[in-house]
Assembly symmetry: D2
Homo-oligomer: 307 residues x 4
């Protein structure tokens, strides 16, 4: 958090059918619907999050990610980073407060990999869902489905990894936690963090710009990953792979798809990071094991099913 | 245990290279070597087993299972079942005591699916490994690898499922715990038990006789299944599939191969059975989900990689 | 199961306030109410049980256990055991079918420790709760509270342990799985089984006859024991001790009280038993560790809070 | 990490017998001995830590904590904070590089609660123990005992909580994550963090200065807490309480004592913190539940057994 960016704040996801999507994200993942706006967007949050919302669903003709936003310490940080981004040559758009209900003004820019990111500092804090703010119980009794704990990170595919690296590391104050290097010394995967987490956002090298691989949600235990897998089977939800472990980050994970074809991950565990920790490096010829530690090979879907 | 057969007692497995196999079964699975005999066979046990050994490795030119044995309450049970088997028309071979070191006389017959089974009642009881017989600690501190708890069951492929069913149910007193039925009412998978376990031995319909699908070992928890998967990756052991859950039995499982190509399973959890419980039935068109509950489809290897 | 007794079939528990008790056993433990009868008794079952009910609550002025019943293979077994009990000198009462709704005739006797036990062979089988009988999902999605899997066993306090041992072992065909012996060679705790379980019923030496220590319900995992403990705290339920592990049986456990003061246990894991396994023996001077493996000392409540 | 303090770096603990202590911290907790110095001190680390050591044992006549140190981003941070501490009126001692082998210069001050704290920025980085720096396996196979992952935090008892709060929050840039307030609005417990962790150091109100309650080590799972409890029993180590859950932080925990009477904790899970999160507050009349969520009452030892 060298520059005042704290954490992933929200992600806006395009879905083909809002009702189907909503059932998926609430009944299966256990996100809680907190609001709808005049554009028809639905706002969701995970129960441990203090802010009002973290996921926004927008109905559209094609699936994918509209933008991912990071919450900053205060408005001065947002102002300063906006200035630095512009100085770097990136156009920065101002989104007024309440364009997303309950959220203050945001600034938006497009990273060299083509993805849209936002920074903001103000969002209504409604507290953890389902437990009292004082003398709080350990967890709320009426969670649904997987009961995910928080929106954790996104993995994005794009072309100009070095450009996006430069923006996130040198302007936004992220750190490189883990990476995959090809034999020519090119970084083909970069896992970036502004916290103790192994990644707050990650990028994998890909021919096209602005592709969305997955949005990831945090679970507390490997047993919850099993129960998530069970729920995926029970609800006849399209599975990608898992339960398994990642070599990169060491998280324990399962991947599946929402009804629009957007990939979701739920996971637990994994490495922690501090600013003085050297990045963990995997060689590209070990990419299979880096991604899926147990199978030690990629499934084709992981590389090609993008939105 | 209607007829006095208690449990799987041992399995003799053929391996191509004894040293490699031994390292696999001891360092990785955590079986304990307890003996070798003049034929060069190696005897292993799992730590919670009271009897002297449960796995016998024999070096040979081709992998596979020589025989699987069940322990009976007493010698009278063995005598009575031998007589019934003969009356049924199955040749029964007498194996003298100490042909396997520490084991009493066994009788051996070939089931209609082509597999060789043995019955015995006497084997030296050396007690659980690594803990005192009185005031015992919860577990021994110096287990290796997966630290498997017991040899649990075998899954075997063969042609005449009905014939073997008849022998196990009507002569040996097993019960049908779970099954897969095809649309014509033929049983294509039968999970048989003489205990509370969901299976002590299981059979899947297959064109050839006497094929060995896997020997299975019991773990205590889903976290141990994860650590087993990690160990499989660390030791570069050939994995089949997992961690995942079975629909049949509900066990949580991972499959992998020993250096000779024999499949192993380690698993935890799963259904329990009582004699008055109706068999749990899956339809053949749900076979994928019945076998791999999360993926809901079979991998080709599961059906064809046999020894 | 040498004599045809299969498992604990039901327990009838006296409670001071039926509504309070019902909320405890359904909302907290997750038992499912299945029936009420003209006497005002409420019938409950746990979700993995195939039979119609396993717990009966009866409102009365004092808490405690009315009787515990074991299900037998068939009516002939019940007849034979009734005859043996009478021959042994124990009066046997016949309870007609449907005295408990959905249950066939039962026979009842009082064991030397003063507790009433029943044997029966017929009870309506309604199947596992919440899942289809064919192609069953792994678990039902709408379980409440702890979601206990089955009524597992009772622990009873009484004076004449040797007498009850004799009846259970020599007449009913139970086996001694685990025991605590005092320096004079007297058995002060006996854990008896008719299955692979470490205990189907257990007795601890005590000055009075016919005292009820606890009814125990099975959970699948140590994480479910944690969540049970959390729920006990959230609902301000009176706790006894736990989460912890037993030395005897090695089960992982937590004890608490229903609103009438009857103790409940929920637990997972633990040893398995076969007929040829020698009993596991703890010395009385290790009783603390035998009961509570981690603390290695008894709390006073464990010995004195009885109903 | 507003002011550049990153994390707990090390703790120096006084023990009565170095050999006994070493066996406790290595064989039982699973710390790894990495060095000894000319003063006879022994240096230990936990396997996931990148720095050379995190625990220093010093033989002395009385147990307790000599000092706890925090690692800072760089030497400039240390210089700046030293200046601020002095300006605040606290004497600051300079400890030269290599006074602790492998560690750069440290500055030391005494907090108003009487405890000695150090700041440093330089320590040799030897990498995670037992795994390769590139393409790393998930965990090393030869960990001992509990295999603790990292030195996580200390809980300290002292008188002037407000004074120490002022120093940590306003000078060192810590944040208040969780607290216990008495009815008069006095903070009687304060859990302070410079990271996402629920606490990097915590203080409880107490009549005396400079008392050491415990040093805490991180485990990955609740199952590892169970195995830690088992190991405590097996090694006849003095237990305090657990396994249980804290209300404060929600961690899952067990407390026990080293042979010198210093309390240790191993724990997993718990809340995460961000700078904009309001502190979680428990009322003093809920202190029992705040500390031990399941029992909802303190044991006397927790309040009085200090070193």
């Amino acid at each position: 958090m060298r520059k005042g960016v704290m954490r992933p704040g929200h992600v806006q996801i395009r879905v083909l059918d809002l009702d189907e999507a909503l059932q998926h994200y609430t009944d299966l993942l256990g996100l809680i619907e907190v609001d709808r706006d005049s554009q028809g967007r639905v706002y969701l949050k995970a129960w441990t999050e203090v802010d009002r919302f973290s996921v926004v669903l927008r109905e559209d003709d094609s699936p994918g990610m509209d933008f991912m936003a990071f919450k900053c310490l205060d408005e001065a940080v947002v102002d300063g980073l906006a200035q630095e981004l512009r100085a770097y040559g990136l156009p920065v758009e101002e989104i007024p407060a309440e364009e997303l209900t309950g959220c203050g003004r945001r600034i938006r820019f497009q990273a060299p990999t083509g993805h849209f990111f936002e920074l903001f500092a103000t969002k209504e804090q409604t507290g953890k869902w389902g437990i009292h703010p004082s003398n709080p119980e350990a967890w709320p009794r009426d969670l649904k489905g997987m009961g995910v704990q928080r929106f954790d990170h996104c993995l994005l595919y794009g072309d100009d990894l070095d450009g996006t690296y430069d923006v996130f590391i040198n302007i936004l104050g992220f750190e490189l936690a883990e990476q995959v290097m090809d034999p020519d010394g090119n970084r083909v995967a970069q896992f970036l963090t502004v916290s103790m987490k192994a990644h707050d956002v990650a990028f994998i090298k890909h021919g096209e710009k602005n592709k969305f691989h997955h949005a990831s949600f945090y679970l507390e235990t490997w047993e919850q990953v099993l129960r998530a897998a069970d729920l995926i089977a029970m609800t006849d939800t399209s599975i990608d792979i898992g339960p398994t472990r990642h070599g990169l980050t060491n998280g324990q994970t399962i991947y599946f798809f929402d009804p629009s074809g957007n990939r979701n991950e739920v996971f637990c565990g994994g490495n922690y990071h501090y600013p003085d920790y050297p990045p963990i490096t995997w060689d590209a010829d070990q990419l299979g094991k880096a991604i899926f530690y147990h199978d030690r090979q990629l499934n084709e879907r992981f590389l090609t099913a993008l939105t």
